[in-house]
Symmetry: C2
Subunit: 119 residues, 2 copies
DNA sequence: TTCCTTGATCGATGAACGTCGATGCAACGG
DNA sequence: CCGTTGCATCGACGTTCATCGATCAAGGAA
């Protein structure tokens, strides 16, 4: 693997009155935002937000993209820590990591969202 | 100006249980996240979050980048609707658009942050 | 074992991005 | 008027990214 998992960033960056951010945290935050800086990946995350687990084959069918392309986007999201994969036989199911999403939201607004897991 | 301002997106995209997002909204959201997908621009937004208005010359001095590069990043943030400029004589002062930041946070968490302006 | 299926990786290609020097343009001071 | 200052735009260069076809690895069924 070429990239390690991204460390946590627990300070707001963009909310009015936020304290200065050290260099490394800016890099980490930018990397996470970059993972969402593509319509396809926004669609994937949004799709996962509506269903607990989604098979890769479903994404290939719904997104209208080639399978390697879908796999590439899933990898980007995985390395950003926004999604995680669960292997079940031949299939791979992806699901959101709500804490990572909430952390990004906190970095933006400086306000903790009430963490609520989908039942 | 070559580009129009981005329209508003008022629905969450990434919070657990979020409804499906139409194509156009995914593109708009991805474009906004892309504006934050760079360490320099995160630094600019973070700097603006700590002070109401900042002169362009200050950014040039603090970021250690050439003036055209800073102007480029400010343009990206401006076209994303995250910052706005105020001309005062020869100088240009930039400031945050807190509503745009908060809107991005809402898209992520599905929770409205208590809008609070820096005094 | 031998197929078929699912998903990840590799390699290549075209587009987009970050960076900077040079230039343009408006506002001020002489 | 002319020269300077502050910022935006332009052009170019090197890097990164999105996309796809081909290939590979792992599992299930015969």
């Amino acid at each position: 693997m070429s990239m390690k998992e991204l460390p946590l960033v627990s300070a707001p960056c963009c909310a009015p009155g936020a304290p200065p951010l050290p260099e490394e945290e800016r890099v980490v935050l930018a990397a996470r935002f970059k993972a969402l800086a593509d319509p396809t990946r926004v669609a994937i995350v949004n799709r996962l937000a509506g269903a607990d687990e989604v098979c890769v084959c479903v994404f290939v069918g719904e997104l209208g993209l080639a399978q390697p392309t879908v796999s590439h986007h899933l990898r980007v999201l995985r390395e950003a820590g926004l999604v995680e994969a669960r292997r079940r036989g031949t299939w791979a199911f992806y699901r959101l990591v709500p804490e990572a999403i909430a952390e990004l939201g906190f970095a933006l607004t400086g306000t903790r969202a009430s963490s609520r897991r989908a039942a």
